[in-house]
Symmetry: C2
Amino acid sequence: MPPPPRLQLDRFVPYRLSVLSNLVSSAIAGAYAERFALTIPEWRVIAALGEQPGMSAADVAARTAMDKVAVSRAVAALLRARRIVRTQSRHDRRRSVLRLSRAGATLYAQVTPDVLEYETALLATLGRGERQALDRLLAKLTRRAHELSPCIIARLAPNAR
Amino acid sequence: MPPPPRLQLDRFVPYRLSVLSNLVSSAIAGAYAERFALTIPEWRVIAALGEQPGMSAADVAARTAMDKVAVSRAVAALLRARRIVRTQSRHDRRRSVLRLSRAGATLYAQVTPDVLEYETALLATLGRGERQALDRLLAKLTRRAHELSPCIIARLAPNAR
DNA sequence: CTATAATGGTTGCAATTGTAACCAATTGCG
DNA sequence: CGCAATTGGTTACAATTGCAACCATTATAG
């Protein structure tokens, strides 16, 4: 019997990705959570609508890779706080049409520079070539992960409904 | 007044990292969650102890970047399931000494090949140079994120206790 | 030596989250 | 048309999680 393949956490890419992503996300959350009483899902909705106003909740979910329940709850909280406004689509009365309110736009304008600044600081130690490599690697790996995830589930849990 | 800097989610590295990491983590969780009734924190503890037996709960927390409460709960569940065993340190009666049980070691040996295989598949589209670049970028960014996170908190919430 | 601080670990409680079920509106198809 | 299937969105409930407080043990300062 061959020796079992060895798993070393520090060299295991999924683990390293997770650590990095958590570090970065929590640092960024620090840039708005306390100051503006904004949760991570709420900020994601704000960011999506700031970039592209008029989307429905489903659009936001697709855009931000959030669960639709999470979007629904974040939207409810943002409506309560009057940070977004909601109207109904003319053509499909199920679809909502979401936009930042005046207050929401102000918030967006206040938070955006900080998170961009964080990104700049994070990437500051990388050279031009490294940044390009990072961009390319993120794109490739994300595409690959999308291709792979259904396969894994199918192979390992063939009887899942 | 200069135009506000624009935030585009698809080009925003922290956001892309988060999406990628979530995709990868949930794909991997699929490799053991259902088959072995193992949660993500439990698997992390198993992986840490499989790699380096005899660590205390605090060691595991440091090693896996998990919260100590999460480790405590995962350890409790694993003890209940007899997948690990716990003894006490001779020199410091607070510290536990954790090891995989026979069953835990078997589990580890069953899951490890699958997660390694997933990693291999994920990286399969990358060339040799790209893999080196990825390794280097993960290391650099993680180090940088560690440096940065206290600063951000200090700067943006100077009155945090 | 003693008081205080720090560390390892657990528990209680509240907040967050995920899953599934659900309602309403729309689409597709016989 | 009319009925099943789909889509947008919300809600209920359970499971997970995070925070703070806590106990026991060990280290440190005076």
